[in-house]
């Protein structure tokens, strides 16, 4: 189910502005890869190119290659909509659909695409996805209630359940815990540990401890000066990155010394 991502020579532009320059990396299946780096260094932008979500922004374009196993997702005959069913995404701010119940939110991927599904199939998918997101016990008695009525941490887990319900092979998470309290954060980190059994997970985070706790590999992005494109400085095993980084820049960032 989980797939490998191979990126080579990727440049990302917004109009004439080059936001990310020459990134090449391999993201292993059934592992958690963390992207760290200061704000504006292009890590979120780069993350969004992995499921072509950057195309939602006007004028955004990409040069280079992103392989999902053997498929180039930027190939001429590849439909971005299909890419997104394979590569799901969880956002910084929990964004359940306000017009839908908890139940409908979970199966939104199928419902919005008008997939035919029997009642029992739908029930099973909802229960399985909510259990997978460690939310089932908390909401099983109020599945018909609006998703927007849950707490922030529950909403974020609802969004994870919604993302996994379309059965993607990769899950991208863009600072999923930055708006949550420590207990909700712990719940999500535990969940990430379980999810990596089945998915390739990429997580952007500003929290270095979180990167150290959840990830197997870490990539550090930085930009040489404001207005310059962001670059991948170093990528390696998380343990090694946090104890013996190869680049001086990485060490400065991780230890809190800059420049």
């Amino acid at each position: 189910m989980a797939k490998r991502i191979d990126v080579s020579g990727l440049n990302v532009y917004y109009g004439d502005f080059k936001a990310v320059e020459d990134v090449s990396m391999t993201i292993e299946p059934r592992s958690v890869t963390a992207f760290i780096g200061s704000s504006g260094c292009g890590k979120s932008t780069f993350l969004r190119t992995l499921n072509r979500m950057h195309e939602v922004t006007q004028g955004a374009r990409v040069e280079g290659k992103v392989l999902l196993d053997d498929l180039d997702i930027y190939g001429a005959d590849v439909d971005p909509v299909m890419v997104r069913t394979e590569v799901g995404m969880v956002f910084q701010k929990a964004n359940p659909f306000p017009t839908m119940s908890i139940y409908d939110n979970v199966i939104a991927g199928a419902r919005l695409n008008s997939k035919r599904m029997s009642k029992s199939e739908a029930d099973d998918l909802v229960e399985q996805s909510l259990r997978g997101a460690n939310l089932w016990e908390e909401v099983k008695d109020r599945l018909g209630k609006p998703g927007a009525g849950l707490s922030g941490g529950q909403q974020q887990r609802l969004c994870i359940a919604r993302a996994t319900a379309v059965k993607p092979s990769v899950l991208l998470m863009d600072e999923p815990c930055s708006a949550l309290d420590p207990i909700s954060t712990l719940a999500i980190e535990d969940l990430i540990h379980q999810l990596k059994e089945n998915y390739t997970i990429v997580i952007v985070t500003h929290n270095m401890q979180q990167a150290a706790r959840v990830s197997d590999r870490t990539a550090f992005f930085n930009l040489s000066a404001p207005g310059k494109p962001g670059k991948l400085i170093e990528m390696g095993e998380t343990n090694q990155m946090f104890t013996r980084p190869e680049q001086k820049e990485t060490e400065n960032y991780i230890t809190g010394r800059f420049g």
Partner: protein
Amino acid sequence: MNTTTTQPSGAGTGSPANEMRRGSLPNHFPAMLLASCAAVVAGILLAFSSFGFLLWGLLTAVAYVVIIATASARVEGGRKAKDRLVTAVVYGCFLVAMLPLVSVLWTVLRNGIVRFDGYFLSVSMSGVLPSMDAGGVYHAIVGTLAITGMATLISVPIGVMTAIYLVEYAEGRLKRIIIFFVDVMTGIPSIVAGLFVVALWMILFGPGETNGAAGAIALSVLMIPVVVRSSEEMLRLVPQDLREASYALGVPKWRTITRVVLPTSAGGLTTGIMLAIARVIGETAPLILTTGSSATAINWNLFDGQMMNLPVFIYSQVRMGGAVNYERAWAAALTLILVVMLLFFLARIIGRMFAPKTR
């Protein structure tokens, strides 16, 4: 604010703790002051036997504002005095703004109620001479509902789809051009819209052809820009997060729009459409030109002959000038206001049904 002790501002000086203490006027002071101002002003005016409601209200307001500002400045200090002053002025402006509205409603209600009954609502003017004490407004209600209904059916799809295009798809030059022309359309005088349709009908059907459909087209010319602008605002209020959440589930753009964006903004869209209907339902000039002003019988067919409607009914009754005509005009005006209020009531219910819920 909650303390009722009156204390001169000079009392607490010295330590910083005392600097923070201020005297305050008693809670009931503004109400008492207003009442006594009104009483004193009324007394003075009556003494000079020049009492008038407008003068009374104006002088009371001035006296109240001056006294409360001065009293507050002495007791509570400058910032609170400004607060009191601005509060008084804002309330005053609110009352002034409400005056014409209440006055209009009251006048229409008082004059309209004379003839407003089941008979008036359920019969037409067919076979009724203008000066007879008979006849009603049923044919005009039918016309107003049919013409406005058709105008809505034309304007809402065009308007909402234009708004969707502007918000979700358009970029660059074409977008600016469309927005510019929609703004220009908003400013078209309604009589010009009527003339436009008269000219169009002249070309299509020859001279002298008047029917309900012509009126509906004229109204939709006025209605479309209003629907576009209000729908555009509502669609822009839908958070970008929700669109991205939908895309990230592998949902194509058109389904995201129809299944996420439109339902989320449905309440606002309904309100906007209702406001647009209210904008055109009272239009008179274009309808006189396009639907004729002499129909007296009930006509449900938009494509066959003249069609009476409420605004034109009011206009033509007033033109006739007899006492009974004025009564009919007022009663029809009351009917029109009630129809609009009914529509707004419906809009609120529909809006509430669609509104996103949290529990």
